[in-house]
């Protein structure tokens, strides 16, 4: 199928994009990588009157680490995150999540901002942002505001962005020195949409105890979710297979009605959430140990 008609505006800067969004109101949508939006338009499930193409706004494509914060511009392609070796160390999980977004051609076009703003419950980057305590920067006609990842995702394809706001950047506080992270997902095929995924960040103290742990899950609710009960199980304990298993149980039990679809039932997703939490924690802790 072919997309319906729309009016097209190319924005050369974030401010120009925000201006265009304000001018055209609710019928306008931001076109970034287009890997979900154009698919939806081809199927004629959505029909925006206006598309504001932010691809010319080169200022929005960057990856910067300064003052303990990693900033990623919204237009940064997923493939750039995937291949950015400066992220290795405590942010390996972010690279892993990026490397499993769609396929090569999708990552070449798809953007970090688009992945978050599209807010697909099964997308890879949202759970990583939850686990990394990220905040999202939104620019509107009144200027910038920041929204914590925890408050950003409201439902399937629903976020805290106002209609005329543009997601410009995501900021992550760098995990403490010596932390490890991992992202693991299970999909029907080796690659492609995951059934569920887990991102974990684990920090160890000098004695090898878990000083901090944060876990984000995808595919098991209307949005990506934090697995706080599992975090509570592991913080203050020493890494062990039994501990991961206990965390898995806590994570699975705490889920509120995971969704069913053609690939898997909610029941299976609940089970998988536990398995993935255990595996992601183990991988993250293992990396943390190696780094200490």
């Amino acid at each position: 199928m072919k997309p319906p008609s729309f009016r097209y505006f190319a924005a050369r800067s974030a401010d120009e994009a925000v201006g265009l969004l304000a001018e055209h109101g609710a019928g306008a949508r931001v076109l970034a990588g287009g890997q979900s939006l154009v698919q939806e338009m081809n199927a004629r499930r959505v029909a925006p009157e206006v598309l504001v193409d932010v691809n010319p706004a080169a200022e929005l494509a960057f990856v910067r680490q300064e003052n303990g914060t990693l900033s990623i511009g919204a237009l940064t392609r997923t493939s750039q995150v995937e291949s950015d070796a400066t992220l290795d160390g405590s942010l390996t999980g972010l690279r892993e999540a990026a490397a499993r977004v769609g396929h090569v051609a999708v990552r070449n076009r798809g953007t970090v901002g688009g992945n978050l703003a599209h807010a697909d419950p099964a997308a890879n980057l949202p759970p990583v942002m939850l686990a990394l305590d990220a905040e999202v920067v939104a620019r509107g006609s009144g200027g910038d505001r920041s929204i914590s990842a925890a408050n950003f995702f409201l439902g399937p394809h629903r976020t805290a962005l106002a209609p005329a706001e543009l997601l410009t950047e995501v900021r992550l506080p760098l995990p403490p020195e010596g932390a490890g992270s991992a992202f693991i997902e299970v999909s029907r095929r080796d690659r492609g949409w995951g059934i569920a995924g887990a991102a974990a960040v684990v920090a160890l103290d000098r004695e090898g105890g878990i000083s901090d742990a944060r876990i984000g899950l995808s595919g098991v609710g209307p949005t990506a979710v934090r697995a706080r009960p599992a975090e509570e199980v592991v913080i203050g304990e020493r890494p062990s297979a039994e501990l991961w298993k206990a965390a898995a149980g806590a994570a699975a039990a705490a889920l509120d009605a995971p969704p069913s679809d053609v690939h898997a039932s909610g029941r299976y997703r609940r089970h998988l959430a536990g398995v993935l939490v255990a595996r992601a924690l183990a991988a993250a802790a293992d990396r943390a140990e190696r780094r200490n």
Binding site: S5, Q35, N42, G102, H103, V104, A105, R109, R189
Partner: protein
């Protein structure tokens, strides 16, 4: 369709600048196929899943069914028609032929473009790397093995060429002079 809805865009396709008047909604794949007559790029799903319509935009693989032609203005686009030079096949095309990496051939242009990009990014991939890089392209005929073999063979061939190039070049004329004592 109103006149004001038409956008003029110049695509540089396989090295040639091609000005086009298109609606903003015109997908890059349709601009290439229908407006420019480059029908080597095939449409297998228009759902952004199968990879048959993969082309290179500024050297990177892109699903041309998920990009609007207006977005490609000023970009260098390479399609399957741009791989061979004259009658000489691109080494990856030659490897596909040699290894019989195709049956119906419908998905082949997309695989070639993905393979060209892979070999540019990683000239010496292993089998798992090739399979992962090609995971976004679906083939229903071959079971992939011959495709993977073709990409590995093309990588091998390129590696051999690099090795030869690194060997010190022999100045034939100087040798002749030396041998014949002139």
């Amino acid at each position: 369709m109103h006149q004001e809805d038409i956008v003029i865009v110049t695509l540089k396709v396989n090295g040639v600048e091609r000005p086009l008047a298109v609606e903003p909604r015109r997908l890059l794949c349709d601009a290439l196929r229908e407006d420019l007559g480059l029908t080597g790029t095939n449409l297998g799903c228009e759902q952004g899943v199968c990879g048959s319509c993969t082309v290179l935009v500024d050297g990177e693989s892109v699903r041309s069914c998920l990009m609007f032609a207006v977005q490609a203005g000023g970009c260098e686009i390479t399609t399957v028609e741009g791989l061979a030079s004259g009658e000489t096949l691109h080494p990856l095309q030659a490897a596909f032929w040699e290894k019989q990496a195709l049956q119906c051939g419908f998905c082949t242009p997309g695989f070639l473009m993905a393979g060209v990009e892979l070999l540019r990014r990683n000239p010496e991939p292993d089998e798992a790397g090739v399979r992962a890089a090609l995971a976004g392209n679906t083939c229903r005929c071959t079971g992939y093995e011959h495709i993977v073999d073709a990409v590995l063979a093309a990588a091998d061939g390129a590696a051999r060429e690099r090795t030869f190039a690194e060997e010190p070049e022999v100045d034939v004329a100087a040798e002749v002079v030396a041998r014949e004592g002139r």
